[in-house]
Symmetry: C2
Subunit: 283 residues, 2 copies
Amino acid sequence: MKVIAKISEIRATIEEQKSSGKSVGFVPTMGFLHHGHLSLVKESLIQSDCSVVSIFINPAQFGPQEDFQKYPRDMGRDSALLDELGVDFLFVPDKNEMYPEGFRTYVEVTGLQDDFEGRSRPGHFRGVCTVVLKLLEIVKPDVAFFGQKDAQQAAVIKRMVRDLNLDLDIQVLPIIREKDGLALSSRNIYLTPEQRKAATCLIKSLREAGRLIENGERDPGIIRNRMERVFDSEPLADLDYIAIVDLDNFQPLATIGSETLIAIAAKIGTTRLIDNMIYRSKE
Amino acid sequence: MKVIAKISEIRATIEEQKSSGKSVGFVPTMGFLHHGHLSLVKESLIQSDCSVVSIFINPAQFGPQEDFQKYPRDMGRDSALLDELGVDFLFVPDKNEMYPEGFRTYVEVTGLQDDFEGRSRPGHFRGVCTVVLKLLEIVKPDVAFFGQKDAQQAAVIKRMVRDLNLDLDIQVLPIIREKDGLALSSRNIYLTPEQRKAATCLIKSLREAGRLIENGERDPGIIRNRMERVFDSEPLADLDYIAIVDLDNFQPLATIGSETLIAIAAKIGTTRLIDNMIYRSKE
């Protein structure tokens, strides 16, 4: 695996691969890789002749009160893991390479970016869209892989790619979970053992919602109510939102539809976690 | 010349050209072509193996009070002119092709877009950036050509291309003028004969500025003052702004620098015209 920090070099390197007819798969990450990331990388390796992973902790998507400074980093472990899997190129630009002096261009997906994660994290999706667009322009992959755990991010990026006529395929792959159901996240490392136990309330409430829908419940109000009860019984958890929305456009639903996303965010201590579940009707 | 209205078709057509090793030049326009546009097209034909011109009157860059509805159109004449010059492909998408239902993604060059044209036309550059980025993603040219007449637009687009790591060359070509110095513009057709005469006050004031700078004047305040006097003596003209700024970043200058742009906007009757002049020091 070749590790590259300069835009001009990764661009020339990938250009060379493409000119020899190879397809390019791309997995953008912020590092501190877990099996969720690795499932994306493995899929890229299966589908593509040449796989590129980026690690860049994007300051533009963190709020001033958020955990940019303390966001976990382990470049040595990450690059060993990716090398072992057979990744071809690891792109690790620094902040000045991505945001040189005078940088001032931003991309926004209006409407989709304002609620839920966007409300709790103002400017977050603007930062995500901008860095993802930049990375896509640099790497020019045939396909890029994102995780369903960041459901609103996935919807925002798919919308951006469609709206701006970017010529690539976006694939969103399922959430990878611990044995007890906790969704993998680089931020899980912040949790104390006690909080780690409490964090299962996210998946418990989603499973509760799943059971209700399986049993025919179609009223989002009732479902939300029963999910909130799961949080009420967990003193360490502080629920931020429960979103019961259309999977594609993130509009709140008056009744459970054919493609419904239920997404939640909660703080466990000072650690903010998110999780979600997709319900697809069988008819 | 092949005329194409669908994104999928122009994309496939250009892909075919590129795969046979041809370079692609691109001139995005809003049609009603004049010799300014044609100078860009001719340069593309000289530099590129394959030249693409687009005609799309972009609603996103017009304010609600502006002339989107009455903006001049003459597709028959335009396409005959381009065909005669030897253009390979003319891309003429309709509004729904460019902005389908649900469209919600926009690009902004913060700071650069707020003053001068941006102040007089709120949202204008956001609309310009968005449509130019979309067109660049669709056509994927090696080089795209813009006119210096829209000086702030040129600066905004160059900044966007740099910031978003778009892999192409942007070339900005000189203003083309009538014999009496009036900068060519599709909007000149709005002028009555009397207004047409009055419209020369734009170039007169720029020439006055040029003379002052030639003679050693370096104080923007004094230059602005003398330019305003030209407008004071023209009752049909209503000056909007005089910008004396750095060519690249459009920041107002305290003293004439090595690359100074002097840009003006004025209304002649209800028609808004712009013009500008670049001063480059000889040392």
